[in-house]
Symmetry: C2
Amino acid sequence: MTLDAVLARIDADLPQAVERLQELLRIPSISTDPAYKEACAKAADWLVADLAGLGFDASARATPGHPMVVAHGGTGSGTHLLFYGHYDVQPVDPLSLWTRDPFDPVVEDTPKGKVLRGRGTSDDKGQLMTFVEACRAWKAVHGSLPGKLTIFFEGEEESGSPSLIPFLKANAAELKADVALICDTGLYEGRTPAITTMLRGLLGEEFTIRAASRDLHSGMYGGLAQNPIHVLSRILAGLRDETGRIQVPGFYDGVTELSDDLRAQWQGLAFDHARFLGDVGLSVPAGEVDRTPLEKLWARPTAEVNGIWGGYTGDGFKTVLPGEAHAKVSFRLVGTQDPLKLRDAFRAWVTAQLPEDCSVEWKEHGAGPASVMEIDHPAFAAARQALTEEWAQPAVFVGAGGSIPVAGYFKTYLGLDAILMGFAKDDDQIHSPNEKYDLESFHKGIRSWARVLEKLA
Amino acid sequence: MTLDAVLARIDADLPQAVERLQELLRIPSISTDPAYKEACAKAADWLVADLAGLGFDASARATPGHPMVVAHGGTGSGTHLLFYGHYDVQPVDPLSLWTRDPFDPVVEDTPKGKVLRGRGTSDDKGQLMTFVEACRAWKAVHGSLPGKLTIFFEGEEESGSPSLIPFLKANAAELKADVALICDTGLYEGRTPAITTMLRGLLGEEFTIRAASRDLHSGMYGGLAQNPIHVLSRILAGLRDETGRIQVPGFYDGVTELSDDLRAQWQGLAFDHARFLGDVGLSVPAGEVDRTPLEKLWARPTAEVNGIWGGYTGDGFKTVLPGEAHAKVSFRLVGTQDPLKLRDAFRAWVTAQLPEDCSVEWKEHGAGPASVMEIDHPAFAAARQALTEEWAQPAVFVGAGGSIPVAGYFKTYLGLDAILMGFAKDDDQIHSPNEKYDLESFHKGIRSWARVLEKLA
């Protein structure tokens, strides 16, 4: 059986696959920081070269930001698949909390097994390479790619994907396929293979509140001049009420309640929130008081301050009454919440609370709606079956708290439903210091894709 | 008349006095930042050398922090004066807002006259040199110093004066005098010579609120995990109520109301708060709603957040749910408010508001009570007379919003009342970018001290 040959090839080639991934991980492709622009281009070029070596017609495509990688390969009358991943990574600060150089990843032995530690191992370079390695093994065994494939790698996922919609619009015909595969999600509770069919959207906003035209001495002006940190604190403190309900007018428009069916299915998952929170030193669920923990994570909208700064933040003390204060705020969206309407509503809500002499300036950091997949396409059943076989346990359909706006964009601009499957674990510490990816995730991830390709392509 | 000779000498020597001050200003003695420790020592040594050249028995005295400069000189049976200034300066960030290198000061022509621009020009190197230059001119004319003088320069005023009280305690006998002179204040409204007889105290606190044991992904944990920025915002938002009243229990214990007399005197000053605020781009007095602007600045306690930070504060966006958030808060104190009691009360008040899973860690940044001078000592009348003569207009007794804790310490540890007179202007931008000191302040400041010395020493 040829699938067995492909799987055997994957097993034998694993050490080389890890080395290839390490090479990609050494490129510090932090998309949000302009200092790493060259590194992003280098990562894109690395992928183009690797895909070309597998027989893909691959190219890096310029955008106003970081390049997209597009590759076409294979032939046949099976399902035409569009595979998506992103080669950009999160910043690494605070660097002091890393146990080693985030961009010099090695395989470490841990009590839970071998892991590859470094920025991007799990999110998303390790994951996107699972698919590339599955194609490589297939090619090695069969001499050709497994059917019609389009590969599409983005380099701006961690910085709000500013170029994505224009690129999809401009290249919709070229990117058209039968179904999309997105590898940027995880195993349920770190062990159960899962396909994510519900994803929260994301609205990212940054704003600066200004009062005095310059920084003031708090002794000379304190008590008489407006302090923008106080104004900002008061606004942020009012973002949620005592019950965790978000106070922006109209915020809950489009938020749908769980169906009884889905609620029952999720109850069956027996989510252990004590363990989930305990892993990060917490014990008590925060947020909305009248919702279950899993519902809060997968099916409820949120408002979180992701960054705040103002005044003197260095060593020691400075009795400054600052001229401005800043915050970065993100909203996770569900159902049919409209991110652009919410942006307007949030800005109006903040502006209405400004005292005299204060002004506000805005910066946008992305706006993507939530995604709810139509799981009737036969590819969903096939993928679920492939996962079930590889992991020797039933794969499940789940929700996800994180936002993968591209899934919504594929639906809007390419008319494609997306099968979101990935092999990350809850303790991968993505976006945090000491990010890692289990070698098991990488290995069985490659094997899982080989099985999916065999069924679909 | 010998005073005239001294004043003439001061006038003739002004260009050289400016050059000496520039030399001192070029030493970046930022006391709060450990990176400038050597620079602080260098500034102290520079002053020791200069004072020794005038015949003082001068030395830099080691402390656990930055050195103190102590110098004794002169003889005579007149009033023994203890002159205080500080040679350390504030940090210069944000550096990008300076029009030139803050540590390479030059004389600039401005529409309002010549100014010396740079960090420390007004606070306090320019001011302390007014006294040194007055002594120099006296020595040049008379061949000796004008009576018994002790000079005492501190190097930690801008960083909470951690070594000051131990030093005063250990050297009380050596530092004993009849009255203290402190040059770290300004002209009233930039033109009227003034002696400050009421000073607010200062309590500086820094705290960190912690929740999760590490930074989290806001998609994965948002809505379920406690966000310490929200906790911090809520606490800071509650620091003052809608009327500007500070909410820490017991905060107003020891806050005294103005005497009818003083209230009338201050009304006579016709404080132009519209101009005062207008100079910095503001128009509406903030703070307590039922107090006059001058009362808020000089006679009411305050609570101001001087710095806040947490989460991702760099370019772009990072959907982090941070593990900790930080704030620096200062309180201006009046009357007999007890800074140590208030520290306890503030900490208890914050701690009581922490939700489950959150903890707080504290750092102290100084605690000094308010000072109210006993103005019966004849030196006050003499100093007022000297100022009135030099500036050709009646000098006034005023309050001050800023804290000069040393005035209180001199009273407590040396039994000395202090005459606080200085020549800074409201638009000197101390603690801010582009700090400056008017050449007129420097010149007439030196002449003012010469007149004071002639009357007292």
